[in-house]
Subunit: 354 residues, 2 copies
């Protein structure tokens, strides 16, 4: 047994996507992540991954990498059993790099739980060994999006997320996808592209057409909390905050002011520390929980799967980023069958750590 | 290794107090608690204790005991690694008996962590192995209270909690205690005895006299959230919610409406589940944390010590109830030296479980 951190290694990895993925804020054809390998005195290894998004979070990849490479060294010699104190220090040090928070906090927890022979999934509460994710259709021409959606349904997914960037486009593509895929259930994500009144228009029209919209996600500008509340009070569908929600402080204000029905937590925005706080605020204020991702490989998405499956409080799971990649990490803490993700136990995971 | 619950034993214990302890709501000369012994398949034991207060929480001892004895049997055969699901079920089943929530949730966590060779303190984050508690002066004649306070200071305590029940009494006894004990720092607790304007009067006068009041606790009726906010906005001292704060839902509303500066969490009011949520809400809303107790023995107070020391976020610790008892449980997860409480590790604890 040895709970002290002996070494932290940082490595950059790039994963090509199956096809270019476009949202209202921009397009990506590959995803570069920063992976952490944290080694305890006794040799136990904890892994973590940061998937910083410059477009979404303003996190500049090279800066995140530099910060992780240099600042993480301050944790050498620390005892991972004091994870609470370490998490708080990480919150302070990496507050402009939430993806780094997640990677380092998870690596600490992965090592700590490995040393005890359990997994972060069990640490979080072991609620649901199997969870179900949606899969996303990025912005493209309408016919291609309809084809993509049909393929996603063919792969076994029961919920499809649809990216949109304007009123006209949304009212064209969403009903067509619903028609072509049996109206199974859709998360419509504008990534801030609409004005509040436009968002209400989209929601009302899709509702009058009978489209089964489960969630209208981040319809308006991230700083426009009043706009979110305006949409929420008028939309027949639940309204979710995504880019408006990074920290526990954001969550408290959104809840206090009744701005949304749903919180979309992403560990790359919040780390484990703020992620946990947001869960508790949501449950205390009657807000539905969703979990999403940035551009993580299976290594990185394991963080969110452990978190969501271990806690069990998430109604909507959008953990599809590794499914959009043409390549993947060797390490993963889960197996996928259609849209079902099953958590692996510690023994199965250790075989995948070289 | 065996994580399944094989047996849960319930036992009632009565501890005599050193002297009758009086607050504005009533007096007690002994404390009856319900202790849980939860045994896993492999023989590992988890302990827990409920200290129900009829006067404060409306929990009727015999009913709590009956509920614990009968309903806890539904958990036989459950795997304690799924503690999140079990905690949620306990929240539902025992929602009128929060002291039972705490006892059963802690017993599950104690057994789970014992099986892994760690303690609930480490599970919560291992933040501070040593914490400092205040000690309380109950309501009595003024001279006796001054003597009691001097003795408490003599025992090494650096903060004294003073129970009061009226404006005149507070303005008489608090300055006298401050005079006699070097104005070291006081938590003034009215247990709802004042009207909002009376509470402001007490706060202003003690402030003008230079008394070092750290916290004015639960000055007004527990359901009068507007009254709490009225006092908070006018009091020169921080105002705390105690009896107003049981659940995560209470915490969210108190925070949303800006009612108090301080949350006094007691596991006997909230269990571990709501206790954790209240911590996260407080930290998200800039509210200071305090932890208190009902009538726990050292077995029961170990729950709160593990919680507070493990998390490390508590500014005020009022974990003195075993110090007011003439007898104590054999089991305790800590040692006391003056006002310092030091957490014991798993090996030291196991020696105390027969």
């Amino acid at each position: 047994m040895g709970f002290e951190i002996r070494r932290i290694e940082i490595e950059r990895k790039t994963y090509k996507l199956v096809k270019t993925f476009r949202i209202s804020l921009g397009a990506m054809s590959e995803s570069t992540v920063i992976q952490i390998r944290l080694i305890l005195n006794g040799g136990t290894v904890g892994l973590g991954e940061a998937s910083p998004s410059f477009k979404i979070s303003g996190e500049y990849l090279n800066s995140v990498e530099t910060a992780l490479r240099e600042l993480s060294q301050e944790f050498i010699g620390e005892d991972v059993r004091n994870y609470r104190v370490l998490f708080d220090r990480i919150d302070e040090m990496f507050r402009t790099f939430p993806s780094a928070k997640s990677a380092l906090q998870y690596a600490i927890l992965d090592a700590l739980t490995a040393e005890y022979g359990l997994t972060p999934f069990e640490f979080f509460g072991g609620a649901k060994r199997k969870i179900v994710s949606d899969k996303t259709v990025g912005i493209d021409d309408v016919n291609t999006m309809v084809e993509d959606a049909k393929n996603i349904k063919g792969e076994g997914f029961r919920t499809i997320k649809i990216k949109i960037d304007s009123v006209d486009f949304a009212l064209d593509v969403v009903p067509k996808i619903a028609d072509a895929t049996g109206n199974i259930g859709y998360i419509v994500d504008a990534n801030q592209a609409l004005k509040p009144k436009e968002a209400v228009e989209v929601a009302e029209k899709l509702h009058s057409l009978g489209v089964n919209v489960l969630v209208l996600e981040q319809p308006v500008f991230k700083h426009d909390y009043d706009g979110l509340r305006f949409v929420r009070e008028r939309s027949p569908f639940p309204v979710a905050a995504d880019e408006s929600l990074y920290t526990r402080y954001d969550a408290f204000k959104l809840a206090r002011d009744g701005c949304v029905d749903v919180f979309n937590i992403k560990l790359m925005k919040s780390g484990l520390s703020d992620g946990m706080a947001i869960v508790e605020i949501a449950r205390s204020a009657g807000i539905t929980l969703m979990i999403g991702c940035m551009g993580e490989s299976s290594l990185g998405i394991t963080q969110s799967i452990d978190f969501a499956a271990g806690l069990g409080y998430f109604t909507y799971l959008d953990l599809d980023c590794p499914f959009l990649h043409a390549e993947d990490s060797k390490y993963r803490g889960y197996i996928r069958d259609g849209d079902e993700l099953t958590v692996l136990d510690r023994e199965e995971r250790e075989k995948l750590k070289d």
